[in-house]
Amino acid sequence: MADTKKDLLLKIRDLRIEGYSDEKWLEIVHGIDLTLHKGEVMGLIGESGAGKSTIGLAAMGFARDGCRISGGSIEFDGMELTTTSESDRRALRGSRIAYVAQSAAASFNPAHKIIDQHTEAPIHYRIRKRLEAQEDAMELYERLRLPNPQEIGFRYPHQVSGGQLQRAMTAMAMACRPDLIIFDEPTTALDVTTQIEVLAAIRDIVEQFNTAAIYITHDLAVVAQMADTIKVLLKGNEVEEADTETMLSNPKEDYTKSLWAVRSFKREQKERPGGGAVPVVSVQNVDASYGDTPVLHDVSFDIYAGMTVAVVGESGSGKSTTARCITGLLPPSSGKIVMNGVEMPPGYKQRSKEQLRQAQMIYQMADTALNPKVRICDIIGRPAQFYMGLKGGALKSRVDELLDLIELEPSKYYSRYPTELSGGQKQRIGIARALAAEPNFIICDEVTSALDQLVAEGILKLLDRLQKELNLAYMFITHDLATVRSIADEVVVMKQGEVVDSGPKNEMFTPPHHPYTDLLLSSVPEMDPNWLTTVLEERGVDNIGEAATV
């Protein structure tokens, strides 16, 4: 990490950014300094809404619509981005600085095939011809472990799973081999096994092309693998910065220490209620397909009241699809869904309002699941109004209460629009919306994936408390085994549309288990910066390939 002038790539000084909401300007980033050299990776961590994405964008000289850079300087490779012309700045984007957006689902243009969006920048900058660029894309897809790398690019964004989109987005950022890539939570939606490979691929590429990167994440273990230095943010302010080793071993600030200390939440595993207890939800031999493509095959599991079933599995294994079958969004082609002993009609349209209320789903892609033209208060308030008939003051106080539960100040967020929120904040809105319906069964599709440890822990605790109080049942779709470990009672492991393993959590976490479960377990990142290297070495490169294609 030679601090020579020559290597200096990005220098940000006293960056201030304001956001426009409710007809006035609010400062959301209060004077951040940041220095990045060629080939260096900096991890940006901090709680949800701390301003990570905002800073990441600012590094490209860009402010979101409704935000503005109100002070400071951003110098990229000797060029002052705050004062250069828009066209000069634009010439940098895509070619020399690339961005991996946090909400991949919303950031892909629904009208174009994925690969066409991928090749756009290289063709535009005349770095590659179309065919070359496509070939390159497929290669990158392969490296990022996307299934069918030759074919998947020719699908439209809505035809692939959340995690697959995220990887396609990462590949897209690398298309021009830029000098600096800003990764905004590139692995939040990935299961651990895939995550390892993607992390490895990212690291490879970064090293191979001497690319500098800003790696934004909430996951400390991940950042530990990737970053040379780590910067911790809180509410738009810098808390501290140090190289990874130091930061991990010896954090100075209390806030950082608290971040480091979170993985403590653990809950007793509950047993299935004995006797003739009826499961809240019982998935029985469900097959499902999208058009002609079969996705699920003979999926069965039960969820009992007051229990949490974690569904884990690699990206694209059909977790979200199972959820869609349960809610009736995707009528299964065979098999049935039984709730509280009653067989549900296959489509949600045939279900009664009460049946619908009972089972709520939190969408994986918070971005697309929130109506951009509806205010937060209405999004959250609607189920309360719709199912409970709350009105006026009662409704408002219920919304305030829910906002408090998900740790968003009501006074600040009450009347915002979704576009004025950070990724994690949106996800929390999704949670609040589900809670507002007071269901007795919730499908949580990657609810904490975009949240930092502190907030995530808060949410988990909240869910746990509600479960205890109201005897709720959860189906917890997640890639994060730590989360599974802390809250699940039972675990269902899915792979390629089938349930490969299931059972009580403790059993699952104690060997021996199904080889795939094994692989999952060993893929959970650890805080040791050398963990990734070690794991990869242990498995050997071939092994990884096998693991992903089995």
Binding site: R351, T368, P372, K373, R382
Partner: protein
């Protein structure tokens, strides 16, 4: 060279220099290119061309001034949300608002504002403007200005009612069709095909022979003629919205049709609908005139702009400007309404700057 020409260039060049000095880039570019254009135009068209430019610029400046003053006025007069919104409105929008307000006042207080009655014959045919008549007389010797003022009431009133009616009808059906899909969608689409396919001539004649001619029938006919267009547009726009995840989420909640339409789909489809409204509103003026050509429509001697243009249209072939006054009144309103529409469009698009 006379004083006017010298003053003209001096002013332009001076202003350009000032703009350059204070580095107001766009203003400088504008002023200086105007100077350059003036050189050419001045040489080709002589002093009169320069006068034209000056007058145009003057009018433009007047409009901008009005818009600016009106915005300040509204900011002070309005309160809460409205005031905040107006503060950031572009000048074109406030200019549009100003024109619309003027028309509204003219329409509402027509009998007080107009110096003469709607049907009052006071002069010879096409008498030129004099101290009594601001714009001269029409073909029967009625005061053109008074007729324009009364026309505001009738024309705008009918257009507003008819367009609103058409939009309520068309948009509602379109939204329902897009949301429900399936049979209802198919049925409505075919019904709309049928309505659109029947030539409006036959349609109007038929309805008229059944219901007789009065303002309400007129509004009804127009609404029926326009509703299908709105339907198709709404359906197309809403069709893109109903496939979004958030609509799925709302459906999953068991939301009723009305809520889906009103709170989830409509807010995401407003922009094209607003734009369409701005245009249809103006098309209605012409349709009213077209119907009155068939002998339907507004009864004489009620003044209506479209018919006023139509009646005297041939005069334009001889360079007479009588038909230009009502045409101008329509154009001004069209432009004004659409300026406001542009602003609303911008606001509803979720863009901020």
């Amino acid at each position: 060279m006379n004083y006017f020409v010298i003053g003209y260039y001096a002013l332009l060049i001076g202003a350009s220099c000032l703009a350059a000095y204070y580095s107001v880039r766009s203003a400088f570019l504008l002023l200086f290119s105007l100077t350059l254009v003036s050189f050419i135009v001045g040489i080709v068209g002589g002093e009169s061309a320069l006068w034209t430019i000056t007058i145009c610029a003057g009018i433009l400046a007047l409009c901008i001034g009005t818009a600016y003053a009106f915005r300040e006025f509204l900011v002070i007069v309005l309160w809460g949300e409205g005031s905040k919104a107006i503060k950031t409105a572009p000048l074109t929008a406030t200019f549009g608002l100003f024109v619309i307000m003027t028309y509204a006042i003219a329409g509402i207080f027509a009998p007080i504002i107009a110096p003469y009655g709607e049907a009052e014959v006071i002069a010879g045919a096409f008498a030129p403007a004099d101290e009594n008549m601001l714009l001269g007389a029409d073909q029967l010797g009625r005061d053109l200005f008074s007729r324009l003022v009364f026309g505001a009431r009738n024309t705008v009133g009918i257009a507003l009612l008819a367009t609103t009616f058409a939009f309520v009808l068309g948009a509602l059906a379109g939204l329902i069709a897009a949301t429900l899909g399936g049979f209802f969608d198919n049925l409505m689409s075919r019904v709309v095909d049928v309505i659109m396919s029947v030539p409006s001539l036959i349609f109007a004649l038929l309805l008229l022979s059944i219901m007789g001619t009065n303002a309400f029938v007129l509004i009804f006919i127009i609404a029926i003629i326009y509703a299908p267009r709105v339907f198709r547009l709404t359906r197309a726009v809403a069709g893109n919205v109903v496939v979004m995840d958030y609509i799925e989420a709302a459906r999953l909640r068991g939301e009723g049709l009305w809520y889906l339409i009103r709170r989830e789909i409509l807010p995401n489809s407003t922009a094209p609908l607003i734009a369409e409204f701005g245009l249809e509103f103006c098309f209605v003026f012409l349709l009213v005139a077209g119907l009155s050509f068939l002998g339907l429509g507004i009864q004489p001697p009620t003044a209506d702009w479209g018919s006023m243009v139509r009646e005297n249209a041939t005069l334009i072939s001889f360079g007479e400007i009588t038909p230009l006054f009502p045409a101008g009144a329509i154009a001004l309103l069209t432009v004004a309404v659409n300026f406001v529409v542009d602003w609303m469009l911008f606001r509803s698009s979720g863009l901020k700057g």
